[in-house]
């Protein structure tokens, strides 16, 4: 009655890289995506339902962190053979859309440290270029949850990983969390960083000629934050606003 409702839109490439993990594709999850894909969804609903997906993604991402056996005594005096969390973590969000995932992250990981990276496309070279980064000083000792809601071409995500690895974090200690990815982007990204785990909520059909994800959900940051900031499509103008 309930679970037979198989998802209809998930594209699962036969050759999904082994480092890619998706959420269980339930009807419930698809309903969440249907809400945030709908262009008529209000900002309030977009916030609420994208937060739900982000929490699920973070919960799934944390499952890739190590745990150690731990025995505790319960209030009833019984002994329980459990596990303890091992290893410090931090989040790194790619501005500005990645910031939208921070509240969801903090709901699951209380008072977690969050670094920021701003990457924009350089209009002259058409390459992703680092404009700004502020990372926790001890990031080399931490597991990093890299946050960016959409993986389209993978350009900015790969640049971000490059920056984080320059700060001494090994590839296998980075977990990239996104809501929607394109098969092309996944292929490129995992080809470059095969040991880096990617947690994605949904793999869409592909990219159109403008490198937008199809069917996608539009500009995540724009729908999440104030749209007037993004009215101008001129990248240099956008860069100016970010740097301010």
């Amino acid at each position: 009655m309930v679970l037979q409702n198989a998802p209809t839109s998930q594209t699962t490439p036969a050759s999904l890289p082994p480092s890619v993990f998706t959420l269980p594709q339930t009807a419930q999850l698809e309903a969440l995506y249907t809400i945030i894909r709908d262009k008529d969804t209000s900002r309030g609903d977009f916030l609420f339902y994208s937060d739900r997906i982000i929490r699920l993604l973070v919960e799934e991402g944390l499952n890739h962190l190590p745990v150690v056996p731990k025995t505790v005594e319960t209030p009833t005096g019984a002994i329980y053979e459990g596990v303890g969390f091992e290893g410090k973590i931090c989040g790194v969000s790619i501005l500005r859309a990645g910031e939208a995932m921070e509240s969801g992250l903090r709901e699951v990981c209380r008072s977690v440290r969050i670094g920021k990276i701003l990457i924009q496309r350089d209009e002259e070279t058409a390459q992703a270029k680092l404009f700004y980064s502020k990372l926790p000083p001890d990031i080399a000792q931490r597991y990093v949850l890299l946050l960016d809601p959409m993986l389209a071409t993978g350009g900015s995500a790969m640049k971000a990983v490059e920056v984080i690895m320059e700060h001494g974090v090994p590839e296998e200690r980075i977990i990239f969390i996104n809501l929607i990815s394109s098969p092309e982007g996944l292929k490129t990204f995992c080809g470059k960083y095969p040991a880096l785990r990617v947690i994605t909520g949904w793999i869409d059909q592909g990219l159109n000629e403008k490198a937008y994800i199809i069917p996608g959900l539009g500009d995540f940051g724009e729908r999440r934050f104030e749209p007037s900031l993004f009215v101008c499509d001129d990248a240099s103008d956008r860069r100016l606003r970010y740097c301010l």
């Binding site: 209809t8 339930t26 929490r55 319960t74 209030p75």
Partner: protein, 490 residues
């Protein structure tokens, strides 16, 4: 009033716990007593006498055809003076009523089918919505009064014995006689004092309507009564118990859904089980687990296809939730799950049931209920999905009662999803499974033991334990998390 006293002694056996057997089916209806009494003051007085004498019975409803409605829940008597079941009037009839030209003592003035329907609902332990009649407007009001949970129902009204459908519902019928002179004297006093009428008007109404009505409709119904007061024969009708066979449970029980144990889940459970975990950590991890549990529970709701257009103008066929959803939390321990529910469902109506164990017997008692409107109205309850929240299922006494209450309101068994942190494998879950095989239970872990303990050394059961009764035996889930409500709130 010998008969009244005798009568109370007889019905005291029908306490609330006796209403449902281990199979979750009703073993007896609510007890319906009727009084076709002549004088209102006397009816009221007598009804109150009965209520006072009943004392320990959790809930008594006095349902009035044309009199008072009082509801007693745990010795607190709420009284609304409302004449309930007069028919709705046309504008012309309202004018006539204000001019004392309507015969309110004629059987046609009373909405007998509606009265019978409300009474039948209450008798079969379901909720009902009683109409309210305004004497100042001479009209039935749009609002209704919600009633649920009567163990004993007393109806009263001069025409209460007139309608055969009503008579068929009563377990015991009492007709109380009174001297005519006394009735008229009290009527004049009441109407002049309380309703601002003139003596002439009262007498006019009495001769025109009241007396003929009494002679034609009221007095003849005395022959239907089991007891006439003052009477000679105090024979009693008693409610009989029906036994229902317990069906063997289907194997295996797929409706007990334990969410998959991931490293994070096990880590969260370790934090929550650890007695040295700080309160701040306990609250944080409880909220986190509750959110995740509710997300998992949501997967068991039905969905249907829905097409949308994305901001880049591509059509997308996805799904959407198909059904109306509300939450009901069993207080106090269901509370720690509410934040999770609020994080997952936007604008969720959440009702509550306060169920506490009775100190002497350990039986659950319903102290208070505040259900969302979508459950209070039966036609909506039938289509509603309910997330029932409680921290753990140990003896399952309160879970059992809460499910029963939802079913009484017309919620479908397969529309109830019980969301809980812990279930004791050998505990009351076995009984729940037998009684309500279609209810789904979503939990984060199943513990192996349910052990008997002393309350003073250990707290137990999310199911409401009275702190004044320290030193008695209670049941604890092992290894468990301790008393989740206390650790979350105190």
């Amino acid at each position: 009033m010998v008969c009244i006293i005798h009568f109370t002694v007889e019905i005291i056996v029908l306490t609330q716990h006796d209403r449902y057997g281990e199979d979750g089916l009703r073993i007896c209806d609510a007890f319906v007593n009727n009084q076709g009494v002549i004088h209102r003051w006397f009816r009221q007085w007598e009804a109150r006498q009965i209520v006072q004498a009943l004392g320990s019975i959790p809930s008594v409803v006095i349902l009035s055809q044309v009199g008072i409605t009082s509801v007693q829940i745990w010795k607190k008597v709420m009284t609304d003076v409302q004449d309930s079941f007069y028919r709705r009037h046309t504008p012309e009839q309202v004018l006539l009523a204000h001019a004392n030209r309507i015969d309110f003592d004629h059987p046609d003035a009373i909405d007998m089918p509606l009265f019978a329907a409300c009474l039948a609902d209450l008798k079969s332990c379901k909720q009902t919505n009683i109409p309210i009649y305004s004497f100042s407007e001479h009209q039935r009001l749009e609002e209704t009064q919600y009633l649920y949970g009567a163990a004993v129902i007393i109806t009263e009204g001069i025409l209460a014995l007139h309608d055969p459908h009503l008579r068929a519902l009563y377990d015991l019928k009492i007709f109380v006689q009174c001297d005519s002179d006394l009735m008229l004297a009290r009527r004049i006093r009441r109407d002049v004092k309380e309703r601002g009428r003139t003596v002439d008007g009262v007498l006019d109404q009495y001769l025109r309507y009241v007396k003929p009505s009494y002679d034609n409709f009221v007095l003849p119904t005395a022959r239907h009564a089991d007891i006439i007061v003052p009477g000679s024969d105090n024979s009693m009708a008693t409610a009989s118990r029906m036994s229902t066979p317990i069906l063997p449970p289907p194997e295996p029980w797929q409706n007990l859904i334990v969410i998959p144990e991931t490293p994070q889940l096990k880590g969260i459970l370790t934090k929550l089980r650890d007695r040295t975990t700080s309160r701040a950590d306990f609250i944080f991890f409880t909220d986190r687990l509750a959110t995740f549990l509710v997300e998992k529970a949501m997967e068991h709701l039905p969905h249907k296809l829905r097409s949308v257009v994305t901001p880049i103008d591509v059509e997308y066929t996805g799904q959407e939730l198909d059904g109306h959803l509300c939450g009901v939390s069993i207080l106090r321990s269901g509370g720690p799950l509410e934040k999770g529910l609020r994080r997952v469902v936007h604008n969720m109506p959440i009702g509550s049931l306060l169920i506490q164990s009775e100190a002497k017997t350990g039986e659950p008692l319903l102290l208070h209920l505040a259900l969302p409107v979508c459950i209070r109205e039966r036609h909506r309850a039938e289509g509603t999905w309910v997330f029932l929240l409680d921290a753990q299922i140990g003896t399952a006494a309160s879970a059992f009662m809460a499910i029963r209450i939802l079913l009484d309101h017309g919620v479908r068994q397969d529309h109830i999803i019980f969301v809980t942190f812990l279930v004791a494998r050998e505990g009351g879950i076995v009984v729940l499974r037998k009684a309500f095989p279609d209810v789904k239970i979503v939990c984060s872990a199943v513990d192996n033991y349910l052990t008997e303990r002393w309350l003073e050394c250990i707290d137990v059961e999310g199911e409401g334990v009275d702190s004044e009764t320290a030193g008695r035996k209670v049941w604890a889930v092992e290894p468990g998390m301790g008393h989740i409500g206390d650790r979350y709130y105190l």
